[in-house]
């Protein structure tokens, strides 16, 4: 086993990881560990844009952007973080332009901007053009541009290195008020090299987690096969909390039956949703901004239309995205990729036919809790020195209970940059924490147990079952019964997982083995999600409980914090502790959320 030593180790090479690497790499000796080649990361699948109040095409300011973000997140947003994001958005976009990002331009040659869901002028008066974009492949351009700049700055990548464990040590410490507590400190990570099957330990003063989300707990998802919640689960197993895991975003316009993303930019550019009767139903659900309401509202409205029997198609199980009133040249210029997806995968011609769409699991608002310096928290307010997280894996929380479109590309740039700077600055002043003796042994054991297992259960079968259960019972509508059904199934699957075996017993490129490990992460994440969902007996943002249809600020205006704790129990599940964390409110008191 090889041991490597770096000031900063970044785990993940999507937008957040590479944005962090560009900063960190110029300040400290940095390595990026990534389970897929950097340009394969799912940031590249983002389409519509990245919001910043540049005011290039109409009046706008970052305070309006902050307000929209807070309201869009149904007031569960930490407002200090939202302010940071909206304010730094402007430089984040300009930085990308200077790095070479080919934004679409206005006739004057400035960065062009377009409308996006939930982004409004003057606190909700009308949609505003705030999203900076590059056709409908903004994420692709961001990923390419960041990778290009990593090449420029000679960032050191370890491609196809899976991080399987986070090494931390516990120290007894005393708080200012004299109470003792256990302080966690980061020492490094354990990594598995796909090509050889060898383990590597990376000792580091700072570790940045930027591993993305966990959309593969669902069957219908816009997420890549590789989005299996690795970073979240590794942190959770290491004793760190997960925050707000009940909040999952379903993107309204997934290609029906497939889940492939069709950008909200389609509606930003004038596309509208219709039911089987040809009715523009969003006029009823969000009279002011209609099809450009936030995603949670549009997704629920679509699901409601289908429930009411107004779904389109032979099985009445989807609605229609209508672009037929737009000029084909406008579609070609602004929405070329997504219209090609409709042609390729469904054989539908968007110039002349409406496109079948239905909500698809898209984004996790929750994740590893951090503060606005991207420092990871081990409880409500204690920082783990040297440990950082940014992007979808983190919960800072700028998205609260529902993320606005474009704010994820913004989040990765703003907080990825911050994570890189603060991680490098910390590494410049800190010493290495001594690696725990035999720190790799649990990983060795875990891998060898799975490789040599002979049980009858198959990874693919258990994963399919999990995904079906989550699609059925943890979707846009939930209630006590559905969540409990999901939880019972997950507990059964966790039990069956103990009997799982893999067929590939080799060392080289053993993706069979790694899919087995990834399934373990998915099961942990799904359990945390359902327990968090049970605990939140209200409806807010992406978490809609039919048995508690209203938002309840008196009892639930707080973040959920789920811990693994062998001495605790929650809802009959042993080893789980449920706590809450206050929401940071600066200038916006909760109001009724209407659009």
């Amino acid at each position: 086993m090889q041991v490597h030593k770096y000031d900063v180790v970044i785990v993940g090479a999507g937008g957040a990881g590479m944005r962090a690497a560009i900063e960190s790499g110029q300040r400290a000796r940095t390595a990026v560990l990534t389970k897929i080649y950097p340009t394969r990361s799912h940031t590249g699948a983002a389409q519509g844009g990245m919001c910043a109040a540049l005011a290039n095409v109409e009046e706008d300011n970052w305070e309006w952007h902050t307000f929209d973000t807070v309201k869009g997140g149904d007031y569960l947003v930490d407002q200090d973080a939202a302010e940071v994001m909206a304010k730094e958005a402007i430089d984040a976009v300009l930085d990308l332009e200077k790095m070479g990002l080919p934004f679409n331009r206005t006739p004057e040659g400035k960065i062009d901007q377009r409308r996006f869901g939930g982004h409004t002028r003057d606190h909700g008066k009308a949609p505003v053009r705030r999203a900076c974009y590059a056709a409908d492949r903004t994420g692709h351009m961001i990923l390419q541009t960041l990778y290009q700049n990593c090449v420029k700055h000679n960032v050191e990548f370890y491609n196809e290195f899976y991080v399987l464990d986070l090494l931390m040590v516990d120290e007894e410490a005393t708080r200012e008020d004299g109470t003792p507590y256990t302080q966690k400190r980061v020492a490094g990570v354990v990594s598995y090299e796909l090509a050889t099957g060898e383990l590597h330990i990376f000792q580091a003063k700072s570790v940045v987690f930027a591993t993305g989300g966990a959309g593969k707990v669902y069957k219908t998802t816009s997420n890549a096969h590789t989005l299996t919640g690795d970073g979240m689960a590794i942190a959770y197993r290491a004793g760190l909390p997960l925050e707000d895991m009940e909040f999952v975003q379903f993107h309204p316009t997934g290609l029906a039956g497939l889940g492939i993303l069709l950008s909200e930019a389609a509606r930003g550019e004038g596309g509208i949703l219709r039911n089987a009767d040809g009715e523009r139903f969003m006029e009823r659900y969000a009279p002011t901004i209609k099809d450009l309401a936030p995603r949670d509202i549009v997704a629920r409205s679509m699901a409601e239309e289908v429930r009411q029997g107004r779904g389109a198609g032979p099985n009445k199980d989807y609605v229609l995205l209508d672009l037929t009133h737009l000029e084909p040249s406008h579609i070609d210029e602004k929405l070329p990729d997504i219209t090609e997806f409709a042609r390729t995968y469904l054989g539908v011609e968007p110039y002349t036919e409406p496109v079948p769409v239905f909500p698809t699991c898209h984004y996790f608002m929750g994740g590893i809790p951090t503060n606005i310096k991207a420092e990871v928290l081990q409880d409500n307010d204690t920082v783990v020195p040297g440990l950082y997280a940014a992007g979808e894996v983190a919960c800072v929380s700028v998205h609260g209970s529902n993320r606005l479109g474009t704010n994820s590309l913004l989040d990765i740039n703003v907080f990825g940059r911050r994570a890189g700077i603060y991680a490098a600055e910390y590494a410049q002043t800190a010493d290495f924490v001594e690696l725990p003796e035999g720190g790799e042994l649990p990983t060795v054991e875990h891998i060898e147990n799975l490789r040599s297992a002979t049980g009858a259960e198959k990874v693919g079968e258990l994963r399919s079952r999990l995904q079906e259960v989550m699609d059925a019972d943890m979707q846009v509508f939930r209630d006590e019964d559905s969540i409990r059904r999901a939880l019972a199934e997950i507990e059964d699957l966790r039990h069956r997982y103990e009997q799982v075996s893999v067929q590939d017993k080799g060392q080289r490129f053993n993706l069979d083995l790694l899919e087995g490990l990834e399934l373990g992460y998915l099961l942990d994440i799904a359990e945390a999600m359902t327990l968090a969902a049970l605990g939140r007996k209200e409806s807010r943002g992406g978490h809609y409980r039919e048995d508690y249809p209203d938002r309840d600020d008196e009892n639930f205006m707080a973040h959920t914090m789920i811990y693994r704790d062998e001495n605790a129990e929650m809802e009959g599940v042993k080893g789980i502790r449920f706590e809450t964390k206050p929401v940071v409110v600066t200038r916006y008191q909760p109001m009724e959320r209407k659009y």
Binding site: R40, A45, L94, N104, V151, A276, P314, P356, K458, N510
Partner: protein, 262 residues
Amino acid sequence: MSTVTEAAEPASKVDLGTQGGGSGEIQSFDVTLKVRRYLPETSEESYWDEWTVTMYGTDRVLDALHKVKWEIDGTLSFRRSCAHGICGSDAMRINGRNRLACKTLLKDLDLSKPILVEPIKGLPVEKDLIVDMDPFFQSYREIMPFLINKGPEPTKERLQSQEDRARYDDTTKCILCAACTSSCPVFWTDGQYFGPAAIVNAHRFIFDSRDDAGDLRLEVLNDKEGVWRCRTTFNCSEACPRGIQVTKAIAEVKQAVLNRTF
């Protein structure tokens, strides 16, 4: 400020007539996959393996490979991630043509015969359909794939006209999947050739009005392993899953080399 004209508000209700979307019955069909296997821990030799699986409606070659891996043979190894043609992980030779497995619908192939699946050519095979991508990314690095601007940094964005932005739009679509490079007969026989993908990415910067290092890149590409190796066989343009006019981009780079003033 705004010069954009508002489109007319779309109708609240329209008559959709008969909607598309098919009959509602999902068609199933049997597909035989014939995959070139290479398991270096078991044997030095590569061999063909064949499976027949039942697939449905809009399934793609990637779905069939997954079905084999998840239900029949877990050792079958291939890279994939996004599964909708944007990450570039799953370029492979399907019936002798380079394609992305996630973008190739089974129903568009001739299913009366086995579907032949092989690793892309010209890069060392590591295991089954997985090849060593490092030489490919090394060529990419050599053309300096990043914006080089020598002017003073503006406080706001650099301006670029819509026409200037359109000039290099096509080559910004590249996802570095290597389908073009590994379809190129020159690349197969001469591993030193930069290959189409590196030239496409050079084009993206050479024709970007904000970039000042075109001459440097053209000098690199004027090398004996550079653009002049291209024999214009158009394999690359046909292979590109993003529809980039690769051969045209290479021709434009050749022309730029000839026109440049050193």
